[in-house]
């Protein structure tokens, strides 16, 4: 077995400490023949420090398209020739989406808006929407509304939003190649305010945007420094009309190596399958990732693209004897 896996076993599995950046890079550079041992170690770490439960979440777009930012991966930017048009979801439809999500056994429902940050109209819609969901559905409400002011952080916490998603998307050194309309530091500032408010911090990103393995390791180390409750891992799905529309998808084994590396960097985090797994990993790879460090998933559709039916993922979890985390376990 490679020396890096022995070192990871002692540091992460035995002691519960995450790997540092240089060791994360060594993991990302492991050859294919070491992948089964790597995945087994990442799975052992997940089982020891997180347990067998899998947190299931549904997401919905409250405000789609027309975003003023230029995130190069995103079909919702109003700056690119994307076919995605601007549309708002009404409150009854939002509540219905939350009910559909809860019916899958999911404990999390994340409301997302394609904005730089919320304006008064969006905050009003959130206030009404969160209230209506809490009156009708037994589910935890999370939100992802871009960059926040301190006042908005406080207001979302007061509404009962229990977790806030704001992805750093990639490492600090590569961020200017992905977004030019705002900075990595501005995103970090929002995350700091969210943490101080008492809301749980959800922060991850997208792999396969052209970053090097060194930058992938840098990103994992920076996430470990942030120490979020949840890390959603996306794999780039190239979207027509965006600057990254012609990028190749991440190769399956590279994706699995990355999943394991992020688990070894963040042994206690909720590590969630987010977008792109269907294309990058397929059914078999999805299973391998759940046996290689993943302990949460988004089920059903995404914001502008479609996922596997929730029933297919729930059957997979049952087959793997991984219980869906219950609502009582989230408090």
């Amino acid at each position: 077995m490679p020396e890096i896996l022995d070192r990871a076993r002692a540091r992460v599995l035995d002691d519960g400490a995450g790997l540092d950046e240089s060791d994360i890079l060594a993991v990302l550079r492991l050859p294919d023949e070491d992948l089964p041992d790597l995945l087994q170690l990442a799975h052992d770490v997940r089982m020891k420090w997180c347990g067998p439960e899998v947190e299931v979440e549904g997401i919905v777009s409250l405000k789609t398209g027309g975003c003023p930012e230029d995130c190069h991966f995103c079909s919702q930017s109003g700056l690119f020739a994307s076919p995605v048009r601007s549309v708002w979801l009404d409150i009854p439809s939002l509540v219905e989406a939350a009910k559909q999500t809860a019916a899958t056994g999911a404990t999390e429902f994340c409301i997302v808006a394609a904005v730089r940050g919320p304006d008064k109209r969006l905050m009003d819609q959130m206030r009404a929407g969160v209230k209506a969901i809490k009156e009708a559905v037994d589910i935890q409400v999370a939100a992802s509304l871009g960059m926040l002011s301190q006042e908005q952080v406080d207001e979302l916490a007061a509404m009962g939003v229990h977790r806030y998603n704001h992805n750093l998307e990639t490492c600090k050194s590569y961020f200017p190649s992905v977004v030019t309309t705002h900075s990595w530091e501005e995103r970090w500032s929002t995350l700091t305010m969210v943490r101080e408010s008492g809301m749980e911090v959800c922060c991850g990103g997208i792999l396969g945007m052209g970053e090097t393995l060194e930058q992938r390791a840098e990103f994992a180390a920076q996430l470990a420094e942030l120490d979020p409750h949840e890390v959603p891992l996306n794999f780039l799905t190239p979207r027509p009309g965006t600057p990254f529309g012609d990028r190749p998808v991440v190769e399956g084994k590279d994706a699995l190596r990355a999943i394991a590396a992020f688990r070894l960097a963040l042994p206690r985090a909720i590590l969630r399958y987010a977008g792109g797994r269907e294309i990058t990993l397929g059914d078999l790879g999805t299973r391998e990732g759940l046996l290689g460090g993943i302990n949460a998933m988004i089920v059903g559709n995404y914001l502008t693209t479609l996922g596997r039916p929730a029933t297919a993922d729930l059957e997979l979890l049952a087959d793997l004897k991984m219980p869906v985390k219950s609502l009582s376990a989230t408090f």
């Binding site: 076919p83 048009r85 601007s86 549309v87 979801l89 989406a97 479609l306």
Partner: protein, 56 residues
Amino acid sequence: MAYCDRCGEPGSHAACVAARELEPPRYCPDCRRRMKVQVVPTGWTATCVEHGERRG
């Protein structure tokens, strides 16, 4: 279908048909107007101002 509901160009395209397994339609297949599309966890609606709503 006169137009591809993924790219809006005339006809049907194998690559678009494959991609549509994981994407909702974006263009009206009758008039190629861009549709207003709302994706929710268990489905989607796509509305053309001229030809109405489609669901999936």
